[in-house]
């Protein structure tokens, strides 16, 4: 089990990660939290080809601009790793 901590933008499509931290102003942190993007939550990368990316979490899919996504730090889950609790 490797604990690779990276920015959200470096997750490839299909990969999953657990959010470790969101940096940025209260506006960004608060808005993302109200959409379910906050520390401890598991996300899956759906679309990541330049431009904004799309992640899914708990039944929500969200488009996030690259600039904002760079401020989200995740722990990459390696394939097959049984994801632990998501919150």
């Amino acid at each position: 089990m490797t604990d690779e901590v990276v920015s959200l933008v470096s997750l490839r499509e299909g990969e999953e990660g657990v959010i470790q931290a969101v940096s940025g102003g209260p506006g960004l942190i608060g808005r993302l939290a109200s959409l379910g993007i906050t520390s401890g939550i598991k996300v899956r990368m759906v679309r990541n080809i330049g431009g904004p990316l799309i992640v899914t979490t708990n039944g929500t899919r969200i488009a996030i601009g690259r600039g904002q996504a760079q401020k989200i730090v995740v722990r990459r889950l390696t394939a097959g790793e049984e994801e632990d609790k998501t919150a």
Partner: protein, 661 residues
């Protein structure tokens, strides 16, 4: 609260959870329903009566949280705080309970009785999420009503829950989310400092939480009302604990986690959803962008392919109608003129566009309802950056093709003030249906078989102008800045004919109302002005004003009637058709025949170019001013459009003459 036993109930919830669907069922009204976040941007009211009790129901704009990041969220929050409704119905999305509960956690702090309407149970089911409603109720301490609003399920139960809770009054004791454990003492410290200065309607717990969250409004207000030394100490505490916001968020998610653990289970997992498959295609730039243009092309092909032939049929029907009614009108040239040239030639010609509008509205409502709009906005994001905007602005622009007024209002979903301003500034360059009607009609009359091409070029040109203007204005007036782009992509769903029907119906009615009021009045007025005193256009009041204006139109090859037509478009864009109809007296022969004989190609072209770029109708101007909130920007945009349309008109005219069109 309202007097005489009337109840005030607010429908709140995150965007796109079905608030307006529930509102429409209860009140019988028809608020805009579609499948993308951010349709309702103003609060709307209606009534529902049961057992002799009247309930005033308010449909609030969707808000992800109660920290007001965008205009609509501010509206929702201020309403709850200032109006203190008897009950709030928090509409939650059963297929995304976590984030619906996040908003609930905030609402519960406001100490107003809340009923949770757990909507979209069908979607949750499809995704294999099972929710034990009783368990959830017990955990939250709040009544929970499962619903499928789009299928009318659960409404009765919701109403009785509302009645029940608003009678219980103060007996409402929900479980509340605390701040995370390690910050409880900070919370207590802040509370001790600020408590004496928090006055109703603001609540202590809510205010402290908002301060910890760094809510700009609340912080600002407290800074004003708290003595300087207390405020300094407050700020010192906050500075020392910069992670207060995270503690609040963490506290909420602990509470949510508890609810989810006690009440939901996943019985199926790992299924590939339909939405995933479609998104794989539609959000991939290499496919998504061509598909978007394809989709738009199909929309216009349907609109014009089916709508225009019907428009022609209506036009000939109208001529038949004239031959029937003419003998009944007696001898007076005035009565005949008002009816045949004024009403029929003016307002009647406008009405023949009904089929075109019908097909356009239906196609757009379909795209909205299946959930495509948010994807279109997503793939457009990269292009929108060139013009200083981002993908979300594409949503109001799309509304703009229908009518610019809701588009300007719709810009409220944009969180950043400058993006909103620029979006509003550019909206008039989105050709609305009324503008398109004028263009199609004139192009068809003048350019014959090239009409389609000319119309397309004009529309494309209009959109290019939008692009260039955006580029220039954002370069000139705004410093480059990170533009936060966060947008939810809803699930696709099967088109619901009822929802689509309601949307189309509402827009058609709005058009008919406009045609039956402003445009009828205007047509008659214009006819009178162009025939008083002598009964002859050239010597009429309008004729003399017109000749005075004639020099203005000369560089573009326009005669005064065309200038009047252009100006009359300010009252309502369709008036341009009505005005041409009235001034050239097309009542009997139909506008196509007459126009062809009075307008040369170059003139028609410059007229159309000017019309595309000219200042929008009054309705749009009024909301632009209101939403821009600044005279400076409004006047700048007004002057810009005047100048641009004038200059472009001249260029089009001279250019057309030069290449001999």
């Amino acid at each position: 609260m309202t007097a005489d036993g009337e109840l005030l109930v607010a429908l709140a919830g995150q965007p796109n959870v079905g608030k307006s669907t529930v509102f429409n069922i209860l009140t019988g009204l028809s608020q805009h329903v579609g499948n993308w976040p951010g349709k309702t941007v103003e609060k709307k009211e209606g009534y529902y009566s049961i057992d002799g009790r009247r309930i005033r129901i308010v449909d609030l704009p969707g808000s992800y949280s109660l920290t007001a990041y965008s205009e609509e969220e501010k509206i929702a929050r201020d309403f709850i705080i200032n109006e203190r409704p008897n009950a709030i119905v928090l509409i939650a999305n059963a297929s995304a309970v976590e984030r619906s509960l996040y908003l609930l956690a905030e609402f519960l702090l406001l100490n107003v009785p809340v009923v949770v309407a757990l909507n979209m149970m069908d979607v949750a089911e499809q995704q294999g999420v099972r929710i034990e409603v009783r368990m959830l109720e017990k955990y939250l301490g709040v009544p929970v009503v499962p619903m499928v609003a789009s299928k009318n399920k659960g409404i009765k139960e919701l109403v009785s829950a509302i009645l029940h809770i608003s009678e219980k009054g103060d007996n409402f004791n929900p479980s509340l989310a605390d701040v995370a454990e390690d910050h409880r003492d900070i919370f207590a410290e802040l509370a001790a400092l600020l408590e004496p200065y928090i006055d109703p309607p603001y609540l202590i717990r809510w205010t402290i939480t908002k301060i910890m969250e760094g809510d700009p409004d609340v912080t600002e207000r407290m800074a004003q009302s708290v003595p300087a030394d207390v405020w300094r100490r407050t700020q010192a505490v906050l500075r020392e604990h910069e992670d207060s916001l995270l503690a609040v968020v963490r506290g909420r998610y602990d509470w949510i986690e508890g609810a989810v653990r006690s009440a939901t289970s996943k019985f199926k997992r790992g299924q590939i959803l339909f939405t995933d498959r479609l998104d794989d295609i539609l959000t991939r730039p290499s496919l998504g962008i061509p598909i978007l243009f394809g989709v738009l092309a199909v929309v216009f092909a349907i609109t014009y392919g089916l709508g225009l032939p019907l428009q022609q049929v209506l036009e000939s029907l109208m001529r038949v109608l004239v031959t029937w009614i003419e003998p009944l009108l007696g001898q007076s040239p005035w009565v005949r003129g008002i009816v045949v040239d004024g009403l029929v030639g003016g307002a009647g010609t406008v009405l023949t566009f009904l089929p075109v509008l019908f097909f356009f509205f239906t196609a757009m409502a379909f795209l909205e309802d299946v959930g495509y709009m948010a994807r279109a906005a997503f793939v457009m994001d990269r292009f929108m950056h060139f013009i200083g905007l981002h993908g979300k602005s594409f949503l109001p622009f799309c509304l703009g093709f229908g009518c610019n007024v809701p588009a300007v209002m719709g810009a409220r979903i944009l969180e950043s003030g400058r993006i909103r301003l620029l979006t509003i500034f550019l909206t008039p360059f989105v050709p609305c249906t009324a503008k398109l009607a004028v263009v199609t009609l004139i192009a068809a009359a003048i350019f014959g078989k090239d009409a389609f091409l000319i119309s397309w070029l004009l529309i494309a040109g209009n959109i290019l102008v939008l692009g260039f203007t955006g580029m220039i204005v954002s370069k000139l007036f705004f410093t480059p800045m990170h533009m936060p782009f966060i947008m939810e992509l809803p699930f696709y769903h099967k088109p619901n004919p009822r929802t689509i029907g309601i949307v189309v119906w509402k827009r058609i009615i709005a058009f008919l109302r406009k045609a039956g009021s402003i445009i009828v009045l205007f047509s008659v007025l214009l006819w009178l002005l162009s025939h008083i005193p002598g009964g002859d256009i050239e010597t009429s009041i309008l004729g003399s004003v017109g000749r005075f204006l004639e020099p203005v139109g000369r560089p573009m090859g326009l005669d005064w009637k065309m200038i009047v037509a252009l100006l009359s478009g300010i009252a309502a864009r369709e008036n341009a058709i009505a005005a041409l109809g009235v001034l050239y007296g097309v009542g009997e022969e139909g506008i196509r025949v007459i126009l062809a004989s009075v307008m040369g190609h170059a003139t028609a072209l410059s007229f159309l170019v000017m019309l595309m770029l000219f200042v929008p109708c009054v309705a749009t101007l009024v909301v632009m001013k209101q939403e821009m909130g600044s005279w400076r920007w409004f006047l700048l945009s007004f002057a810009f459009m005047l100048f641009l349309s004038y200059a472009a008109g001249i260029v089009a005219y001279r250019g057309a003459l030069m290449i001999g069109i």
